[in-house]
């Protein structure tokens, strides 16, 4: 048994004299508050050294209105007393309390009303409610209910306590309790003078769980995003960031996505009532689409429409930012990444949101090849905690060859995670980029759901504040 606190010991000592007492008496003797005494008694009760009995009694108190009516009588009584054997309705209504009284008088059967004439009926004996008003303590429950309903009395709960000492308590007191003062927090004097050595330091109960406090925190999803950013920064990648609004030129055309591609339709993409002019070298991209330019490509054929390329959209991927970066920096080496929000025209449901994070990385250098792309993917996924990665052929409009990495997840098997490929020459040639560009991307929200065990994508963006508060900063896999 842990040691008794000084206050518990003091209570028992005092209680031993009284055997049974109330908080008021004990508080006076102990020079403490009644609340404090109840607290100490509770602790002693837990140890079986005392018994704390709690009684709740209900008392009634008159409201101000109730007090008035106790003095002057209920409205119906006042009005009843003021009228003759019979009166006209008109005259009756002259009484200030008539409005309340008439209803009650009729209810109680004290009056009859016929053809505008009010006649007394019976002798209106004193009712239970009137007796209750005079003396609530002796009232019937129905009368109390009636008065409560009319807001003439209020119900009050009074809590009283009774504290008694148990035989175990008595025995303990008899054995002798050390009532020396205990010290809680030390003062500067006590510490520096060495006086603390002679003081009795109160012992605290290490088994008592403390109140929970929380540090301020970044969002669990943001922490995951930062982990992924760290991986890429560690691998020597430079981060880019950019406009949410993109022209179709950079979001689609520069990536060799044909102008009649379904993804460019209103259904899938958020179009804006905004136009941005195509850049200076746009003809090179136009030529790519129409005939393949100077490369071995046939292009898509047809006629490329400049106006269509100037229509703006909310970016559907961050690849538009990547190609803009490459266009400005065509000389190798380049290792670049971006983790940002992208937008797709999709209704909100447990696995879809119109905006979500995408991670994209690319490597441009002399001598990099498809096998290096696989190497990057393996390394990146390994650092994310996926040791088993395998590759399958894939298709993306702006890469060739393309590849789909799959990672092995316990309980789910092989899961496709993202896509990758080498940028088609039709994408890089217009900007004078001579080296292959290895590129990959993945949906970060999807990874988050996998790693955080979520079933509903909306939890990331419409977060439960308790979830944010509770998510440990050091996440266990």
């Amino acid at each position: 048994m842990t040691e008794l606190t000084l206050n518990e010991k003091r209570l028992l000592t005092v209680l031993a004299h009284h055997k049974t007492s109330d908080p008021r008496t004990l508080a006076d003797e102990m020079d403490a508050t009644e609340d404090a005494v109840v607290q100490y008694a509770h602790l002693c009760d837990e140890r079986g050294l005392a018994v704390l009995n709690r009684n709740v009694s209900v008392t009634y108190r008159l409201t101000d209105e109730g007090k008035i009516y106790r003095e002057e009588g209920l409205p119906e009584r006042q009005v009843y007393n003021s009228i003759e054997e019979s009166t006209s309705m008109k005259d009756l209504q002259k009484h200030p309390l008539s409005k309340i009284a008439i209803g009650w008088m009729r209810k109680k059967g004290w009056i009859e009303i016929r053809a505008g004439v009010v006649t007394r009926s019976g002798d209106a004996p004193a009712g239970e409610d009137e007796k209750a008003l005079a003396d609530p303590a002796s009232a019937t429950p129905e009368a109390i209910k009636a008065l409560l309903k009319r807001n003439l009395i209020l119900e009050e709960e009074t809590v009283t306590h009774e504290i008694s000492i148990t035989p175990a308590g008595i025995a303990l007191v008899k054995a002798g309790l050390d009532l020396t003062e205990e010290t809680g927090t030390l003062t500067r004097e006590e510490i520096t003078s060495g006086a603390w050595k002679d003081l009795r330091l109160r012992k605290y109960d290490v088994h008592k769980v403390p109140k929970r406090i929380y540090p301020g925190k970044t969002h669990p999803y943001m922490r995951l995003i930062d982990e992924m950013r760290e991986i890429l920064l560690d691998m020597g990648f430079t981060e880019i960031y950019g406009d949410i609004i993109q022209s179709s030129f950079w979001n689609f055309d520069a990536l060799f996505q044909p102008q009649d591609h379904p993804a460019r339709e209103m259904q899938d993409t958020f179009f804006l009532d905004l136009h941005r002019p195509v850049p200076e070298d746009y003809e090179k991209v136009r030529d790519m689409h129409e005939s393949g330019g100077e490369t071995s490509s046939t292009g898509w054929g047809g006629v490329w429409n400049k106006a269509k390329a100037e229509e703006c959209v909310l970016r559907t991927h961050t690849t538009g930012l990547s190609i803009q970066h490459l266009a400005k920096n065509p000389k190798p080496p380049a290792k670049v990444f971006c983790v940002s929000r992208v937008y797709r025209r999709e209704a909100i449901d447990p696995t879809h949101t119109p905006e979500f994070e995408q991670l994209e990385g690319f490597v441009m250098d002399d001598g990099v090849s498809f096998r290096h792309l696989m190497g990057f993917l393996k390394e990146f996924y390994r650092r994310m905690g996926f040791k088993d990665v395998r590759f399958r052929p894939a298709y993306f409009p702006y890469t060739e060859p393309s590849v789909e990495p799959e990672v092995y997840v316990d309980g789910l098997g092989w899961v496709e995670l993202g896509g990758a490929g080498i940028f088609r020459e039709e994408v890089t040639a217009p900007w004078g980029i001579k080296c292959p560009v290895l590129a990959w991307g993945l949906g970060v929200s999807r990874v988050a759901m996998l790693k955080m065990g979520l079933t509903d994508l909306r939890q990331l963006y419409r977060s439960d504040v308790d979830w944010v508060r509770e998510s440990p900063i050091n996440r266990q896999e």
């Binding site: 929380y214 540090p215 301020g216 970044t218 969002h219 930062d226 950013r229 920064l233 020597g236 990648f237 430079t238 981060e239 406009d243 949410i244 009649d260 209103m266 958020f270 804006l272 009532d273 905004l274 393949g292 490369t295 071995s296 490509s297 046939t298 054929g301 047809g302 190798p332 080496p333 290792k335 929000r341 025209r345 949101t353 119109p354 905006e355 250098d365 990099v368 090849s369 498809f370 096998r371 290096h372 696989m374 993917l377 590759f391 052929p393 894939a394 298709y395 060739e400 060859p401 393309s402 590849v403 080498i422 020459e425 039709e426 963006y461 419409r462 977060s463 439960d464 504040v465 944010v468």
Partner: protein, 539 residues
């Protein structure tokens, strides 16, 4: 992505080996097995490989991939003697026609279904929903050549497929299911496309519907293929894919004369590719002979010629646009699982972006002040962004032209309303709630960053949020001053504008009870918002 049904028995017959062997290797050619059933599998192929949208096409590819048969499939085409004329008036309507005669077809129920599904898949992948390409298949023996593809009067009549009585072309657009679906492709033209035979019988009303007259059944042995559209390349490709698929199952292809030219031309296209370029791109070291062998297993014709390979590209491979498209086939044949995945030697030093760095700093400061981060959406609506905040609607806000719901119609100009919404979502959770968000906003088409914070509990007040605003500005190195604010979202006399260099860059104070109740809340809320463009040394 197109999902194709592959019946096992038929697949085994065409490939020449058992289903287990085939299905095991199928994904590695570029396919996603969706579901496997007792007698068939539903498999998804990529939209750039419409030649795989039929069991015959898949079997052709797998015979190569499994080493059963390699190199080019030879498609012999003899002239049928039949001719087809194209009306010049179709030039601005639907100018291109592809056609072929296919003889000795044996069509079981399964084969007819497979044909229809191939048609639909081609319409989707190549035809852009029939706009670019529309395919019609006819029982040749029900009509008389020569055929004419002409621009017709709208009151011309015929009996469309599945109906019993003759209807005018306009009636078909209004009353036939396919008419309703595709009317928009032709309804604006003065004349409608029509295919008729020598006796003026109607074969079809492209791209809408065929006539009942030429309906293809299990009895049909000779087919006339029609393919009309607005893109010549796409039309040819569709014809090639269908003809070669039929040829794979034993039918004979015969050409038709259009304007002096015999179509279809199923001969391969030739490309010369560099062995070195392929090795460099893929990161392998294949000699010309091995590379040619790999290409043959992908059903190309391939002959080494010095340090080049002369490649014969089959007529159904419309996805081969660039030399690298051929190199991808080399990689697939080589086997993606056989690549020696490794990192290159290149050395670069990583660097975070200044905007991300700044936002990270803001997060550190706010978390350090005890707040919890939220990551709300950027898309919102004007009710939440302005009305509920008691603020005037602004012209600077960016609207979506076709929102998907009333809840997401604009991009946020401020973050504070999103945090009020977050408190609303969390109204049944314990207090205190002290949350913040740092992220993108768009004003006047410019993307930039703001930070906002709200604190709600029974004692949330002006001095609490002023202290937080002051700490945030100090830690960011902002030399700021405060003026009385007029922002209607806050209580008059309990709000301040944060100013830097004489310009308002932020606001803080006690949120107005009108705003609090508009978000279904009841406790006091203290809030702040700061435009991070004010931070010195940013970008």
């Amino acid at each position: 992505m197109a999902v194709i049904t592959l019946p096992y028995r038929y697949l085994e017959e065409l490939v020449g080996t058992d289903r287990e062997t085939i299905m095991k290797r199928l994904p590695m050619i570029g396919a996603d097995i969706e579901r496997e059933f007792e007698d068939h599998a539903d498999v998804e192929f990529f939209p750039d490989r419409p030649d795989l949208f039929s069991t015959a096409g898949v079997a052709r590819a797998m015979r190569g991939f499994l080493g059963i048969e390699g190199g080019l499939s030879d498609y012999e085409v003899k002239p049928s003697g039949i001719s087809f004329t194209v009306d010049k008036n179709l030039k601005d309507i639907r100018p291109f026609l592809g056609t072929a005669v296919i003889r000795n077809v044996s069509l079981g129920e399964e084969a007819i279904e497979s044909l229809m599904s191939l048609q639909e898949a081609l319409h989707w992948a190549v035809g852009r929903g029939r706009a670019k390409v529309a395919i019609g298949v006819h029982d040749l023996d029900a009509v008389t050549p020569p055929f004419r593809y002409l621009a017709s009067e709208k009151k011309r009549t015929f009996v469309p497929l599945d109906f019993e009585k003759a209807m005018t072309l306009d009636e078909i657009l209004k009353e036939h299911p396919k008419g309703c679906d595709y009317a928009r492709l032709v309804e604006d033209f003065p004349l409608y496309p029509l295919i008729v035979d020598a006796e003026d019988e109607v074969l079809s009303f492209p791209p809408i519907i065929n006539g009942e007259l030429t309906r293809v059944t299990t009895e049909t042995t000779n087919i006339l293929l029609d393919c009309t559209g607005t893109d010549e390349r796409a039309v040819r490709r569709a014809v090639n894919i269908i003809c070669t698929a039929f040829a794979e199952t034993g039918a004979t292809i015969e050409s038709v004369e259009i304007d002096g030219e015999q179509v279809p031309d199923l001969s391969p296209a030739e490309r010369r590719v560099s062995v070195k370029e392929c090795n460099t791109l893929l990161g392998v070291e294949l000699d010309a002979a091995s590379m040619a062998g790999l290409l043959r297993s992908m059903r190309f014709g391939a002959e080494p010629d010095g340090d080049e390979i002369i490649v014969q590209v089959p007529c159904y491979r419309g996805d081969i646009m660039h030399d690298w498209d051929i190199f991808e086939d080399v990689a697939i044949a080589y086997g993606y699982e056989n690549f020696d995945a490794g990192l290159p030697q290149s050395f670069t030093i990583g660097k975070p972006h200044p905007v991300m760095k700044l936002m990270g700093t803001v997060r550190t400061i706010m978390a350090g002040l005890g707040l919890h981060e939220m990551m709300p959406f950027t898309l919102t609506n004007e009710r939440v962004l302005f009305d509920r905040m008691q603020r005037e609607r602004s012209d600077a806000v960016l609207h979506l032209t076709h929102p998907i719901s009333e809840e997401q119609t604009v991009m946020r100009t401020d973050i504070l309303p999103m945090l009020m919404e977050a408190l609303q979502f969390n109204q049944h959770h314990e207090l205190p709630q002290k949350i913040f968000t740092v992220g993108d906003v768009i004003e006047n088409t410019e993307t930039f960053q703001k930070v906002a914070a709200v604190s709600t509990h029974t004692d949330a007040d002006f001095s609490e949020i002023y202290a937080i605003a002051d700490a945030l500005c100090r830690e960011l190195g902002l030399d700021y001053s405060v003026q009385e604010s007029e922002d209607p979202a806050f209580i008059d006399g309990r709000r301040g504008d944060i100013c830097v260099d004489g310009k308002k860059v932020g606001v803080f104070g006690e949120i107005s009870p009108d705003v609090i109740t508009a978000f279904e809340l009841g406790q006091p809320v203290a809030a702040l918002e700061l435009d991070l463009r004010a931070v010195p040394g940013r970008l």
